[in-house]
Symmetry: C2
Subunit: 371 residues, 2 copies
Amino acid sequence: MGIFELHKTDNNTSARAGLLTAAHGKIETPVFMPVGTQATVKALSPEELEEAGAQIILGNTYHLYLRPGCDIIGQFDGLHRFMHWDRPILTDSGGFQVFSLAKLRTLTEEGYAFQSHIDGSRHLLTPEKSIEVQDCLDSDIIMCLDQCLEHPATREQAEAALALTTRWAWRCKAHWQERTDCRNSLFGIVQGGMFTDLRARSAREISEIGFPGYAIGGLSVGEPKALMMEMAAHTLPLLPENKPRYIMGVGTPEDLVELVALGADMFDCVMPTRNARNGQLFTQRGNINISNARFREDKLPPDPNCQCYTCRHYSLAYLRHLYMAREILAYRLNTIHNIHYYVNLAKEMRAAIVENRFDLFKKAFYAKRQD
Amino acid sequence: MGIFELHKTDNNTSARAGLLTAAHGKIETPVFMPVGTQATVKALSPEELEEAGAQIILGNTYHLYLRPGCDIIGQFDGLHRFMHWDRPILTDSGGFQVFSLAKLRTLTEEGYAFQSHIDGSRHLLTPEKSIEVQDCLDSDIIMCLDQCLEHPATREQAEAALALTTRWAWRCKAHWQERTDCRNSLFGIVQGGMFTDLRARSAREISEIGFPGYAIGGLSVGEPKALMMEMAAHTLPLLPENKPRYIMGVGTPEDLVELVALGADMFDCVMPTRNARNGQLFTQRGNINISNARFREDKLPPDPNCQCYTCRHYSLAYLRHLYMAREILAYRLNTIHNIHYYVNLAKEMRAAIVENRFDLFKKAFYAKRQD
């Protein structure tokens, strides 16, 4: 599985419209993947995700491996039935969360030794183990274990990390081929820190191994926006044209538009869900904070042009009331809107690419967002 | 509005099946009313309440008066449009929350002077003010302001409270007739503490004033269960037969069954919603705590015979996982189930009454619950 068809490349930018066929369904790209860390996209039901147009969601291997664990999810034949979601799922390798959440982690050639942030239990996450856990979760798209870097990192650190990431990518591919039936797609990950030549080397090495798809990792880790865009602009053209390209953990609506223009196909980010729970709503006319007193009596929805459940039925005044009262429904209605916004943004970009008007779309997008 | 038709009285008990016509729709009784304190039944959408079969919900006047306030809700022509719920709503008078939540409250003949628990602002809740606020909320059923008592209370305290409650009931009715168009039903409330003769006196006095419906207040305030049942058994037959009878703030599933047998028609309680958020699920076979380790790998739903959204799609193992991970979806799925359980219990009781088999229903109910 994991066949990628490139339907259209924009004439004036590098934007692409594609179709990815995964084990649990087809995914039109560009696509935004809502983050469902612990077998749930926080506050939403699967039906609400579907209504918002989500084609694929992301699960976090580190979290699911620790709780509830593969022994449980395996009894449901994977994450889909466990969480009542039958569209595609992508899981990360677990490496980034070991790096950012786990206690007492030690990195060796073998993998990451770490202690659970939940109960302090000791674990070893190797490239092989990551593949096995993701296979047990039965994700449609699984990711190679890579070495993440702090930002800023020295050239020496970045070089060592990319080299280890390449060696681990070989091990991941071998284990995927030997130990799973390859029904799920394995994506390679490009590292290389903030050094263009190292990004190029990593892109070449990972491409040479050969994967059904490619991701760019290690972006949006604290570097300036211009530097992130420079790295992406430099790396994206070096990836195989006929495979999907996934920018991990990015970003704002503006980031998505810029990266699609550079040829990226897939995105995930906690921003729409996390910011929803902090009262920030994304709209075509810019972002708003629902706690703002100017919404106290506002009978309009967050975005009168938005077709999401929240905008169809609720006013800014009601959403502000729920948020100020810390009601659970506040987090839910805000999240529904933000997920719809991100998913729909990707959908609109795709339509613009197919109709060869992506540059016009981009101009109109900025004109409205900066309104 | 507020026409009540008594469809059937059970041959072997005092259980009644009725139909209450309110401004926003018809309500089959016995009925359980989910509590939506702050213009939301915690964690649920209006669509989920409808799917669970809720015919009417309760709003808390004290909370809504303080936040967002009548100036806001009035701009939406009431609570229905503000919160996107178009079935009937009952609001309480605000008295109980002033009594239990507000700071520095002082009781006079005029009303309750108090400070907001949110911002310390000073307010005066009179019988007239309570009617006006509830009229502004446009509730289908509004309640008289009454004087609540601590438990235990002396006979002297209970006597004074019932006398004041009667004087306030006169003022509420007068204000309701003079200042509203009476499109909403006003219910009188019986007090009298834990003294049967005072309960009888209160029932007589409140009935003499004449209301579209009657409530029994001041139960389930910390007294032993047997004492609560004794008060209800004593008071219910003293209320007009052709009007709905509402037991306020009660109770467990067993309480509902017992009180219906004694002739009660309407109930509200935070138990199904609050306990859901604490991991307790009500089922036909008894209550379960979802955090229990025995559910770790359990692929069954909470109740295999239950038709609620939660039981149709999710396992105990998944619900336990969500709850242990403190995911918002946990509170939501648990609440959906518990509301469905309570609403459906009332529905099943009604069917049993109509078919003249309420005593059999009651036996079967206990046999299963104590399984």
